[in-house]
């Protein structure tokens, strides 16, 4: 195993733990020490479950000593956005209000599935309040800080997930993505993130935001680690009515196939408008490496983004209506004001958005008859400064908070699987979306792996 445990891959850690080259306890202790040392600067973790993690690591060692197989993620420390239920803790979802909730009785099922594969939960991660955020800032817990520049945003809402993985605190983290909350922090922090197909991974026992659009998924520093984590979490779950009854379709064994034979296009039109030069530079590098010369127009992408915006605002408002009535003063004011506005949107307009969603889905799926994957920027720019309120997109000054997701929203709107791949530009990295047809996470992951092997995609190591 590489000498620097902090930036060892999950695959490397698991191999070393299984072989006895190191122990799960040594790995976990190292992660806890690193969290202790760096979290005051990164503000990625809101809770560390050190005792639980050590107990789990000792159990893995006991299993190994009796010859029991340890699983593909043996001893791999991981952490989850604080909207996942962790047994014994209230699920705060980045809010002040939920701190009064009773402790969760059980772990969210994806935590249980990762632990069944040998991984070890070490804590809960910072996030934008109730996931209505693209910045990673939080008025109650303070902002998640970007490991590449502590004065800059991680992106959000899964900000702590981005910071913890990019900063070498854990090799694997989980987050949620409703409109871009996995892909935006992956882009700004320079790591790999997978937003799977809508309905692929169970959302049971996670605090929701927008039932029509919510997804859960992993972050990692390599495509292989992303695939290993994702594979361990697949499978149906009757507790989430949206979770599809599909068999597990392993992706990690497929990675070696690379991108040979895949038809890859670049999204034009809407997905170039407003992009900063660095976003186009990253997209160009990825497209060139993959030999993707065709440009396709994703039809009505601006309207798709608008419809996703309307559905998010109104379903979010519906979710929080009682809290807005009785605890409005305890919200982040920026979240509260958006939710109150969302509650006032007439229902007739929301139904229009859901009807448009079906139309758009059918048109976009037609593109996947000609192409296996489509490339698009993940964010319009690299990480803005923490507290920055506006930026200029396509010559128009726009607020940062809702607009970091302009390129991610039209994709999650119809639940397509996406891997955000990091392109290590200097001084700051930026991501590119590799978008595949529904249920073809394997294709997006194969392309991500190929880009990594060609040296085009990589999670740059921050100086901390």
């Amino acid at each position: 195993m590489s000498k620097d445990l902090a930036f060892a891959s999950a695959a490397e850690i698991a191999r070393a733990v299984r072989s006895g080259e190191t122990t799960a306890l040594a790995v976990v202790d190292h992660a806890l020490m690193r969290i202790d040392g760096l979290n005051p600067r990164l503000n990625a973790f809101t809770t560390v479950v050190a005792e639980r993690a050590r107990a789990r690591a000792r159990a893995l060692e006991a299993a190994r000593s009796t010859g029991r197989p340890l699983g593909p993620l043996a001893g791999v420390p991981f952490a989850v956005k604080n909207l996942f239920d962790i047994a014994g803790l209230p699920t705060i979802a980045g809010s002040k209000i939920n701190r009064a909730h009773p402790p969760a009785a059980r772990d969210q099922p994806l935590i249980a599935r990762l632990e069944a594969a040998g991984a070890v939960l070490v804590g809960a991660l910072n996030m934008g309040e109730y996931a209505y955020d693209f910045t990673g800032e939080n008025v109650h817990d303070g902002p998640s800080r970007n490991p590449h520049d502590l004065t800059r945003m991680t992106g959000g809402s899964s900000g702590g997930s981005g910071g913890a993985v990019a900063g070498g605190l854990v090799p694997l983290a989980l987050g949620s993505d409703t409109n871009g909350s996995i892909r935006v922090p992956s882009s700004l922090c320079g790591i790999f993130g997978l937003k799977p197909t809508y309905g692929r991974l169970t959302r049971a026992r996670s605090f929701p935001f927008v039932a029509s659009l919510d997804h859960l998924g992993p972050f990692a520093r390599s495509a292989r680690d992303l695939a290993l984590g994702y594979d361990a979490m697949q499978g149906e779950d009757a507790e989430d009515p949206v979770c599809a009854g599909r068999a597990v379709e392993l992706t990690e064994p497929e990675l070696a196939r690379g991108h040979d034979g895949l038809r890859i296009a670049v999204a034009g039109g809407y997905f170039r408008k407003g992009a900063f030069p660095e976003a186009l530079e990253a997209l160009g590098r990825v497209a060139q490496a993959l030999g993707a010369r065709d440009e396709v127009d994703i039809p009505e992408a601006a309207r798709a983004r608008a419809a996703a915006y309307v559905i998010a605002a109104t379903e979010g408002a519906s979710l929080h209506l009682e809290r807005l009535r009785h605890q409005a003063g305890d919200f982040d004011p920026a979240v509260r004001d958006r939710l109150i506005a969302g509650a006032m949107v007439p229902a007739a307009l929301v139904v229009k958005a859901q009807k448009f969603r079906r139309w758009y889905r059918e048109r976009v799926l037609e593109l996947f008859k000609r192409y296996d994957a489509i490339l698009a920027p993940a964010t319009p720019c690299t990480a803005p400064k923490i507290g920055q309120q506006t930026f200029v997109l396509d010559g128009v000054e726009m607020p940062v908070r809702p607009n970091l997701g302009v390129y991610t929203q039209p994709i999650s709107f119809i639940g397509l699987p996406v891997v955000a791949v990091p392109v290590p530009l200097s001084p700051l990295p930026i991501g590119v979306q590799v978008i595949a047809a529904p249920w073809r996470e394997d294709i997006a992951l194969r392309i991500a792996q190929a880009l990594e092997q060609m040296g085009v995609a990589a999670a740059p190591r921050p100086e901390l």
């Binding site: 029509s212 009505e300 601006a302 309207r303 983004r305 608008a306 419809a307 915006y309 309307v310 605002a313 209506l321 807005l324 009535r325 409005a328 004011p333 920026a334 509260r336 004001d337 958006r338 109150i340 506005a341 969302g342 509650a343 006032m344 949107v345 307009l349 929301v350 139904v351 229009k352 958005a353 859901q354 009807k355 448009f356 969603r357 079906r358 139309w359 889905r361 809702p402 119809i414």
Partner: protein
């Protein structure tokens, strides 16, 4: 001369009352700004012509 009244202000007042939502005077401007943005997005969607037979994306199965 006084500014002409914006009907959206009346709508916000009525909607807050109908929904039993507290609306502190200092929140009103931000709520209005957000509502304008959301309604503009909704208008962009609503002006797109879809047939009467168009079904919403979520389909309930009994």
């Amino acid at each position: 001369m006084a500014e002409p009244a914006d009907p959206l202000d009346d709508f916000i007042t009525a909607a807050a009352a109908a929904l039993d939502l507290p609306l502190q005077p200092e929140w009103r401007q931000a709520v209005k700004s957000n509502l304008v943005v959301t309604l503009n997005h909704a208008a962009l969607v609503a002006e797109f012509a879809l047939g009467d037979e168009a079904e919403p994306a979520p389909v309930f199965r009994a």
